[in-house]
C-alpha cells in the first residue's frame, strides 16, 4: 500500500482543506467521504487491511447519515431563499462558498504548512508512524480544529470534529490496534455524526421559522 501513500496524503490535504474552505454541504459530504477512503488507504500501511476497510465503511455510513439529514434540511439552504432566486441565478449559484473565501483558503494553506513542518520535527513526529501518516494526522487534527474555530453551524462543526478524529485515529492506530478500540472509535464517529445531524436539523427548523431576507 505504500506506493499509494503520497497520492493519498495529497488527497487528504485537499479534501480537508476543502472542508474548511466551503460551507456547501453537498461539496463537504463528497470531500468527507473521499477523505475517509483515503484515510483508510493510508492507515492500511500499519494495520490489517480488514481494519482499514472497516474504517472506510464507517466513513461511508457517517456520510450516509449526513446525507439523509442534508436531504431533510435542504442541504443547509433556506427554502425561502431558493424561491427568491430566479431560475438562471439558481443554476449559477449551484454551490455556496462563504464570504471569507480568500481568508479561509490562506488559513488552510498556512495550517497545512505548519502541520507538515511540525510532523517533520524529530521531537514531535509520532514514533512508529511512517512520515506520510505523521503529516496526515497532524494536518487533519489542525484543519479539523481550524474548521471548528470558523463555524458555529452544527453540520460543518460536525465535519470539523470528524476530521480531527480521523487525524487522531491515524496517530492512535499505531499505538492501539485492538479490535475493541476500533469498534469504540467507530461508535464515536457514529455518535458525533448523529448528534451533529440532530443539532443541524434543530437549527434548520429554527431558521425556517424566521422570514427569509
Amino acid at each position: 500500500m505504500s506506493q499509494f501513500a503520497t497520492p493519498a496524503l495529497v488527497g487528504i490535504l485537499i479534501t480537508a482543506a476543502l472542508l474548511v474552505i466551503t460551507n456547501d454541504w453537498r461539496l463537504s459530504f463528497a470531500a468527507l467521504v473521499v477523505q475517509y477512503v483515503l484515510m483508510a488507504a493510508l492507515i492500511a500501511q500499519i494495520v490489517l487491511w480488514q481494519v482499514a476497510v472497516v474504517k472506510a465503511l464507517v466513513g461511508v455510513l457517517v456520510v450516509g447519515i449526513f446525507s439523509l439529514t442534508g436531504r431533510q434540511a435542504n442541504f443547509g439552504r433556506r427554502a425561502g431563499v431558493d424561491l427568491l432566486l430566479s431560475e438562471s441565478l439558481r443554476s449559477f449559484v449551484r454551490f455556496e462558498f462563504p464570504t471569507g473565501l480568500p481568508f479561509r483558503f490562506l488559513a488552510a494553506v498556512m495550517t497545512i504548512v505548519a502541520a507538515a513542518y511540525t510532523a517533520s520535527q524529530p521531537g514531535f513526529a509520532f514514533p512508529g508512524l511512517p512520515p506520510t501518516l505523521n503529516v496526515a494526522s497532524y494536518a487533519l487534527l489542525a484543519l479539523g480544529l481550524l474548521n471548528l474555530g470558523l463555524t458555529e453551524e452544527p453540520m460543518n462543526a460536525g465535519m470539523g470534529l470528524l476530521t480531527g478524529l480521523m487525524g487522531f485515529e491515524l496517530m492512535y492506530a499505531a499505538v492501539e490496534p485492538s479490535l475493541a478500540i476500533v469498534a469504540l472509535l467507530a461508535a464515536v464517529n457514529f455518535g458525533v455524526a448523529m448528534a451533529t445531524s440532530y443539532l443541524a436539523l434543530l437549527r434548520y427548523a429554527a431558521t425556517e421559522k424566521e422570514p427569509p431576507g
Binding site: A157, L161, S178, I181, L184, A195, L199, L202
Partner: protein, 472 residues
C-alpha cells in the same frame, strides 16, 4: 452471568423502551427512576463471585472480557455507580412533573449504561471513549426542540471530543514509561497530557464556555443531568488516576495545578456570576464555582480533601434536580423566559416552586442550613489551614452566587406592576398539588440533609477512603 452486563446492558436495553413510552410520561418516569433506584441498590448490595441462594446458586461474576478488553467491578466502582444511579433517579423523577423533552429519559438511561461501562473498563484510560459516546447521546437531551438554540449542546460535544484524545494517548506514554522506567520524559509528558485532557473534560477555564451555554440554552433538567451525572465520571476518573499511579498521585506539582485550577474556576465563576440577571446563566456560573470547589478539595491531596470533594458531588444532584423542576415551572409561567424581569412577582403564584428554586441554588453555593453546607464548610476549614488564598477565592465565588440568589428572590417577590393585566388577572396560587408535594419533599430533603449530614457522610467517607493513593 457477569455483573458488568447487568449495569451496562439493562439501562441500554431500557432506552428504546422508554422512547416508545414517551407519550406516557409518568409511566416512563416511574420506569426510568425505578430502574435507576434498583441498580443503585444492586450496586451497593449485590454479592459478587459467590453462589446466590436466591438465584439457585448462580454465581454473578465481577469481571468479563469483550474483544480482549476487561470489564471489572471494584468496590470503588460500586460506590461510584451508586452515586451516579441514585442522582439519575432523582433527576428522572423530575421529568414526571412537566416533562423534559422526548429524548430525556431514553438518552439518560443509555448514558447511564455507557457511564457504567466507563467505570468498569480496564485499563480505565479507555473510559474516555465511553464518555465521548455518552456525550454524543447527551446532545439529544440538550437540544431544546421548543427553543432550538444549538450553541450549548454543540460546545459540550466539541469539548468532550477534544478531551478524549489526551486521555487515550496517556496510555501509550504510561506503557512507554513501564518499558523504560529510567526515562522520566514519558512520565512528564503523560502528566502534561492528563492535565490537558482533564482540564478540557472538567471544563476548567478557558474550556468552560459550554457550562453557561448549556445552562442557558438547554432544558433545565437535561442541563442538570449533564452537570451532575456526566460530570461525576471524569472526576471519578481523576481520583482513580491519582490513586492508581504513584508518579501522579504523589507528585506535589499535580496538586498545585489542581489548586490553581480550582481557585481560578471559583474566581472566574464569581466574576461572571456577579452581574447575572438570569436564573439559567447564573446556574452555569454557580457550576463553575462548584467545580472549582471540587478541584480545590482534590488539590489538598489528603483523604479529607477527597471526602470533601465527594461530599459536594454527592449532594449536587439533589440541588440540581430541584433547580431543574422548579425553574421549568417558573419558566413556563414566565412565557418561556427566565430573566429576573420576566419572573417578577411569580413567588405569589408559585411560592413552592420559588422557594425550591432559591433554596436549590443556595444549596449548590453551600449556604448554611442547606444540604450543600456541611461539605463546603469542611472544605473551607481545610483550605484555611493549607491554602488560605483558595479559601478566599472560593468564598468570593459563594458570595457572588448567593448575591445573585438574593437578587433573584427580590425579583420573584417583587410586587406586580400595575398594568400587567396577565399577572393581575391570574389566580393567586397556581401550583398543582403534585408539584407542591415534589417541591416540598425536595426542600425538606435539602434542609434535613443540611441539618443531619451524618446520614450521608459515612458513605462519602467510605468512598473517599478507597482512593488511598492520594497523599502528598
Amino acid at each position: 452471568m457477569a455483573a458488568p452486563i447487568l449495569f451496562v446492558a439493562l439501562p441500554l436495553a431500557a432506552a428504546p423502551l422508554l422512547y416508545l413510552l414517551r407519550r406516557w410520561r409518568r409511566v416512563g418516569t416511574v420506569l426510568a427512576a425505578g430502574l435507576s433506584l434498583c441498580l443503585t441498590l444492586l450496586a451497593l448490595g449485590l454479592p459478587l463471585d459467590q453462589p446466590l441462594a436466591l438465584l439457585g446458586g448462580t454465581i454473578i461474576r465481577s469481571s468479563m472480557t469483550v474483544l480482549g478488553r476487561a470489564f471489572e467491578i471494584d468496590p470503588v466502582d460500586r460506590l461510584a455507580l451508586a452515586f451516579v444511579f441514585s442522582q439519575a433517579a432523582a433527576l428522572f423523577l423530575g421529568a414526571g412533573l412537566h416533562g423534559a423533552g422526548r429524548y430525556y429519559l431514553p438518552a439518560g438511561q443509555a448514558i447511564l449504561g455507557l457511564l457504567a461501562a466507563a467505570a468498569f473498563v480496564r485499563p480505565f484510560l479507555f473510559a474516555a471513549l465511553f464518555l465521548e459516546i455518552a456525550a454524543a447521546l447527551a446532545v439529544f437531551m440538550l437540544g431544546d426542540e421548543a427553543r432550538p438554540v444549538t450553541r450549548g449542546a454543540l460546545r459540550f460535544l466539541v469539548f468532550m471530543t477534544l478531551g478524549m484524545p489526551f486521555i487515550l494517548l496517556t496510555g501509550w506514554l504510561i506503557e512507554g514509561s513501564a518499558a523504560s522506567p529510567e526515562d522520566v520524559s514519558f512520565v512528564a509528558k503523560a502528566t502534561l497530557l492528563l492535565a490537558a485532557g482533564f482540564a478540557v473534560l472538567l471544563a476548567v477555564a478557558p474550556f468552560h464556555t459550554w457550562l453557561p451555554a448549556v445552562a442557558e440554552h438547554s432544558p433545565p433538567l437535561a442541563a442538570a443531568f449533564v452537570f451532575t451525572v456526566m460530570s461525576f465520571i471524569p472526576l471519578f476518573l481523576l481520583l482513580s488516576f491519582l490513586g492508581a499511579y504513584t508518579w501522579l498521585g504523589q507528585n506535589p506539582a499535580v496538586y498545585r495545578a489542581l489548586t490553581v485550577a480550582g481557585g481560578g474556576m471559583a474566581l472566574v465563576g464569581a466574576l461572571f456570576a456577579f452581574g447575572q440577571r438570569n436564573f439559567r446563566r447564573s446556574m452555569g456560573y454557580a457550576m463553575m464555582v462548584d467545580i472549582g470547589a471540587v478541584l480545590l478539595a482534590i488539590g489538598l491531596g489528603t483523604p479529607a480533601g477527597a471526602e470533601a470533594a465527594l461530599g459536594a458531588l454527592a449532594l449536587r444532584g439533589l440541588a440540581l434536580s430541584l433547580w431543574g423542576v422548579s425553574l421549568d415551572q417558573l419558566r413556563r409561567a414566565g412565557g418561556g423566559d427566565d430573566d429576573f424581569d420576566a419572573l417578577r412577582g411569580l413567588a405569589r403564584r408559585y411560592p413552592f416552586a420559588s422557594t425550591a428554586l432559591i433554596l436549590s441554588l443556595l444549596s449548590l453555593v453551600g449556604f448554611p442550613l442547606t444540604a450543600g453546607f456541611p461539605a463546603r464548610w469542611a472544605l473551607l476549614r481545610l483550605l484555611t489551614q493549607i491554602h488560605p488564598t483558595g479559601a478566599i477565592l472560593l468564598l468570593l465565588g459563594m458570595v457572588s452566587v448567593a448575591l445573585v440568589c438574593v437578587r433573584g428572590l427580590g425579583a420573584l417577590l417583587a410586587p406586580v406592576e400595575s398594568g400587567d393585566e396577565d399577572l393581575e388577572l391570574a389566580p393567586r396560587w397556581s401550583e398543582k398539588p403534585s408539584a407542591v408535594v415534589v417541591y416540598s419533599l425536595g426542600v425538606l430533603a435539602v434542609l434535613v440533609l443540611g441539618a443531619f449530614p451524618q446520614w450521608l457522610l459515612p458513605l462519602v467517607a467510605r468512598t473517599a477512603s478507597v482512593f488511598t493513593g492520594i497523599s502528598q
